[in-house]
């Protein structure tokens, strides 16, 4: 460590973050860091990425005035940032296109990724098809069963999906297995991590790729209303869509930033994924951040109705924003998210991802308390969740 690291090179957000990984990965993280720093200032790289985001992913995504939901909630200026309209159905593509370009730049021909619900896996497989890269996606066996359609989708795109049967057989264990693969094949392989988690430089790199969400939304709101929102609301699992929409508002101190975690069956039941609300700082997957764990430092199983939020950790920058009180974090239960899933579908004709439904649920419950425009990140669409919800509601025989 140098005595006076420049802010750009710092691997931490306050005390959080860092690089708690096996020695074998250090050189790869250094190389990634250098490649990324170079790409940030490389106009050709940035122009290539912008073109792909526009022509391939479909950006900019619309800012939509949700009048009927606003009326139901008692709030007249409710705006949805429509990340669900991106190619592949969620914000994940913003990150995978950026990282796949970076892999090409580093000369890595093989890509690995972890996925929970399958959204990041699909977005990674898509970027790999586009750039002709080999792609292996790790997915917990339980999620492979819950999201069979996304497994097939990844295979259609040419990726190999490897089910992970260890531990809790969900996103956490898929991430362990992806890291094990990376440790083994680090010289040929780039790991496209799907959220603002993992060792430095991943949390700030993924944030930067996702910050296009907030940059667009801020400009769009200013154009439509001529004012900034009172609050920006987003769901938080690892927290990439939230950091993406928050980032350009961090300096606007009058704008409240609200992250909504998955409260599962309720915090008191222990069946939830609310790391910031109920966890303690700890180290998992290479960084120090709030973490659900038992008194002996073993990672506690997470639970959420939404596979994408079913993760016991959270991005280190969120831990920093929580402790510095720049952002506030709340949570909603599975039932509230399910109710929001239905309400948005019926009132606006938009079926949201169950992850995004958590942000909507917060607005349904607390929307009337905000004085001023509300900006909600609708991070993904709900097509992937339709079969899951039908099963939960006893309509599985329809499918």
């Amino acid at each position: 460590m140098t005595e006076n690291p420049s802010p750009m090179r710092s691997d931490r957000f306050g005390a959080f973050g860092g690089r708690y990984v096996p020695e074998t990965l250090i050189r790869a993280l250094d190389e990634l860091n250098d490649a990324y720093d170079q790409a940030r200032g490389d106009t050709e790289f940035q122009a290539h990425l912008s073109t792909l985001l526009a022509d391939f992913a479909g950006r900019p995504t619309p800012l939509y005035h949700a009048r009927r939901l606003g009326e139901a909630v008692g709030h007249g200026a409710l705006y949805l940032k429509r990340e669900d309209l991106n190619h592949t159905g969620a914000h994940k593509i913003n990150n995978t296109l950026g990282q796949a370009l970076l892999a090409l730049k580093m000369g890595k021909q093989r890509i690995i990724a972890e996925t929970g619900a399958g959204q990041h896996g699909v977005a990674t497989a898509t970027a790999c098809a586009l750039f002709d890269l080999d792609c292996v996606v790790y997915m917990g066996e339980e999620d492979v069963d819950r999201q069979a359609l996304n497994v097939y989708r990844m295979e259609l795109l040419g990726a190999e999906v490897r089910p992970v049967g260890s531990g809790t057989r969900t996103l956490k264990d898929a991430t362990n297995e992806a890291i094990r693969d990376w440790v083994t094949n680090v010289e040929t392989t780039h790991y496209i991590i799907g959220s603002v988690v993992g060792p430095d430089p991943f949390p700030r790199m993924v944030r930067d790729f996702q910050s296009v969400i907030g940059r667009e939304a801020r400009a769009q709101l200013l154009e439509v209303l001529g004012q900034l929102p009172a609050a920006v609301v987003a769901c938080v699992g690892g927290g990439s869509n939230a950091i993406g929409i928050f980032h350009d508002f961090i300096e606007d101190e009058e704008v409240q930033l609200i992250g909504v975690e998955a409260g599962g069956a309720g915090l008191e039941t222990g069946q939830h994924s609310a790391s910031l609300a109920a966890g303690m700082p700890g180290v998992l997957h290479g960084s120090l951040s709030y973490l659900l764990q038992d008194p002996d430092g073993q990672v506690a199983p997470a639970h959420s109705i939404s596979a994408g939020l079913d993760y016991p950790g959270v991005g280190p920058e969120h831990s920093f924003l929580k402790d510095t009180q720049r952002a506030q974090y709340s949570f909603v239960t599975d039932d509230a998210a399910l109710d929001a899933f239905h309400q948005l579908s019926e009132l606006e004709g938009i079926i949201p991802a169950l992850e995004s439904a958590h942000a909507v649920a917060h607005v349904i419950k607390h929307g009337s308390e905000y004085d001023g425009p509300l900006l909600v990140c609708l991070s993904g669409r709900g097509d992937k969740d339709v079969a899951h919800v039908a099963r939960i509601e006893g309509r599985g025989s329809l499918l």
């Binding site: 708690y20 020695e23 008194p295 430092g297």
Partner: protein
């Protein structure tokens, strides 16, 4: 702490023209109460230093064998406190040096300062944390370095040679060379480059170098031991424990000892 330091154990091996044999086991495996018995067997069948694993729920540097032993151990109810208690019992009748092998989070949750003090009081000689690479957390690292426990550092084939002296300077006892990129686990063959890599690492640092990851037969141990000051065997040993209990594990360790000591 043990009366015999890790350095002294390596020195004794060197004086005898031997390479140190360093078996790894997961505490609380195969049963919660088997740890001391297994440690005794290792001590009586040729171990010079023992790595005792404190299980973690997410062992991302470990392959399937040690993942499984860790999960079984946790299901058996193993805790950090319980492992230190096992060590205390073992220490009453053996002075072979013990390195505690674990991940950072159980130690952080226990409290680093208390952990270092309690581990030393229980008789540990060293500490190895796979997810605390050199330079990742200077404050935390320096607390371990200034404690009576040896901080065991790891060097990988991907570690640039100019980083090696810095990594080694924070550590003591021995330097652990990871034989290949990857997680722990058995392999049928050692890499051809290993000998050359070990020779350059040894000339770059002023402490014993042990090699581990993927060493599972007497032949491999002998080949590694011909260049390294010590040889770590983990997954293959756990597999013998799983198959044939303490008796088969003891036999296996004896065979490794014989292979290491056979004049080449």
């Amino acid at each position: 702490m043990s009366d015999i330091s890790i350095s002294a154990a390596f020195e004794a091996c060197r004086a005898n023209g031997q390479s140190a044999l360093i078996p790894y086991i997961t505490a609380g495996y195969p049963t919660r109460t088997s740890t001391v018995q297994v440690l005794d067997a290792l001590a009586n069948h040729g171990a010079d230093v023992i790595e005792l694993g404190i299980p973690f729920s997410d062992p991302l540097a470990d392959g399937p064998t040690i993942q499984k032993s860790s999960f079984v151990s946790l299901e058996n109810g193993t805790t950090v406190e319980g492992v230190l208690e096992d060590l205390r019992v073992f220490r009453k009748h053996s002075d072979i040096p013990i390195v505690l092998f674990t991940y950072l989070n159980p130690v952080l949750r226990y409290g680093l300062t208390s952990f270092l003090a309690d581990a030393e009081a229980a008789g540990a000689s060293g500490l190895l944390m796979t997810d605390l690479p050199s330079g990742s957390d200077p404050e935390l690292e320096s607390e371990v370095i200034t404690s009576p426990l040896d901080l065991i550092r790891l060097v990988a084939p991907t570690t640039p040679l100019n980083r090696v002296p810095g990594v080694a300077s924070g550590g003591s006892g021995f330097l652990y060379y990871i034989s290949r990129t990857g997680v722990t686990g058995t392999r049928s063959k050692l890499r051809d480059e290993l000998e050359g890599e070990l020779t350059s690492i040894k000339s770059a640092v002023g402490m014993p170098v042990a090699v581990g990851f993927g060493i599972s037969t007497g032949e491999q141990a002998a080949a590694a031991g011909a260049v390294a000051d010590g040889v770590v065997v983990g997954s293959a040993l756990i597999q013998t424990l799983e198959r044939g209990g303490v008796a088969e594990a003891s036999q296996f360790l004896t065979s490794l000892r014989l292979a290491l000591d056979r004049p080449s």
